[in-house]
């Protein structure tokens, strides 16, 4: 009797066991950030990014992701600021159009919770970034969500007059929510 109960429970726990999620759904995904200006949190986002992802919810530790963000697609909330941050002192999008992220090792930290160590490259500089994230199934797709702080000056983002962190804080909170569909068979 006990055995009969366990079998369906196992299936319920991992309905997609062995299935790889690889197709990013851009419409349902977002990469946004919160910067602090004069201690006022201001939200922004990137409209365009691509991702090569492969995650198996049954063994997330083997997952891989490479994300490329089109820096010129930034939406800071004002056209004037969008133009400013495309310039040389900020992203210098003419010479550095893309910010890229490549995931490395993934460890489980709790139920549906993980931590990934990856490499972030912006303006020719590559640094290790540690990010907590969650994996949640939601209506046939897998939601990968998390947030981490990034020090903009580590990547020389906002130099010259903008290096003054009393106006724009060094630490920028990056938030991501990626919806990934199963691989097409």
């Amino acid at each position: 009797m006990k055995r009969l109960l366990i079998v369906p429970l196992l299936f319920a726990a991992s309905p997609a066991a062995g299935a790889e999620y690889t197709v990013l759904l851009p419409q349902q995904s977002s990469i946004s950030f919160v910067s602090k200006q004069m201690n006022v949190p201001v939200e922004g986002s990137f409209r365009k990014f691509t991702a090569q992802i492969s995650v198996d919810p049954a063994k997330p530790e083997t997952g891989k992701a490479r994300i490329e963000i089109d820096l010129a697609s930034i939406d800071t909330g004002s056209a004037e600021a969008d133009e400013e941050v495309a310039g040389k002192t900020w992203f210098d999008t003419k010479n550095n159009p893309i910010a890229s992220y490549t995931s490395g090792s993934i460890v489980s930290t709790g139920k549906q919770q993980y931590e990934v160590t990856g490499k972030m490259t912006i303006k020719g500089k590559t640094l290790d970034i540690k990010t907590p994230f969650t994996l949640k199934p939601a209506g046939g797709v897998l939601l990968i969500e998390g947030a981490f702080p990034l020090r903009r000056l580590d990547f020389n983002i906002g130099s010259g007059i903008w290096a003054d962190t009393s106006v724009v804080a060094d630490e920028v909170q990056i938030k991501f929510s990626l919806a990934v569909a199963p691989a097409k068979k």
Binding site: M38, N39, V40, P41, I161
Partner: protein
């Protein structure tokens, strides 16, 4: 009925006047600046002054409602009395309405107002570009109206002092009163 304003009323009048004479030119100057850290700084200072004016205005209006100001000179023609009261009433409305429209505009433009960088004010409206542009127009129109009213208010006070030689200006400026 007293023949002069209370010390509190006089103090509030001049503090608010001083803050308006700071925030107004600052607003005119900063909005055309190219984006820079200084611009962001000035915007914050402008908002902090605005919130301060709003709070002092609330205090002042509640004080005014419990402490009647001295009456206008009996010799004043009634249309002048009416004009003086109308200008005063509108000034009271504007010292609340101008900071309020600025606060709402800031929220609509997606930037919360944080008083002195410490106390966050709630966003009463959510981010909405069209609403933000509309509130900017409202904030500007209110300020043009304020400019006109302040000119009338100051002009009237000076006329009373230098032409009518009455105590209208002196009762708001204690050092003039002490001299006479």
């Amino acid at each position: 009925m007293a023949d002069h304003y209370t010390r509190t009323a006089v103090t509030l009048h001049w503090i608010i006047a001083l803050l308006i004479f700071t925030a107004f030119p600052l607003g005119v100057y900063m909005h055309d600046l190219p984006l820079s850290p200084d611009k962001l700084r000035l915007y914050s200072y402008h908002k902090w002054i605005g919130v301060t004016i709003f709070l002092l205005a609330l205090l002042r209006i509640s004080w005014r409602s419990t402490h009647r100001p001295p009456p206008l000179p009996a010799a004043m023609p009634s249309w002048e009395k009416f004009a003086a009261h109308a200008v005063h009433s509108l000034l009271y409305v504007l010292i609340l309405a101008i900071p309020l429209s600025g606060w709402l505009m800031s929220s609509a433009k997606g930037v919360q107002t944080v008083w002195f960088g410490v106390l966050p004010l709630p966003d009463l409206v959510s981010k909405d570009k069209e609403l933000g542009d509309a509130l900017k127009a409202v904030h500007q129109s209110f300020n043009f109206l304020l400019l006109g009213l302040v000119i009338a208010h100051v002009g009237g006070a000076l006329k009373h002092h230098f032409i009518e030689h009455d105590d209208i200006l002196a009762r708001m400026l204690p050092f003039l009163r002490n001299k006479s």
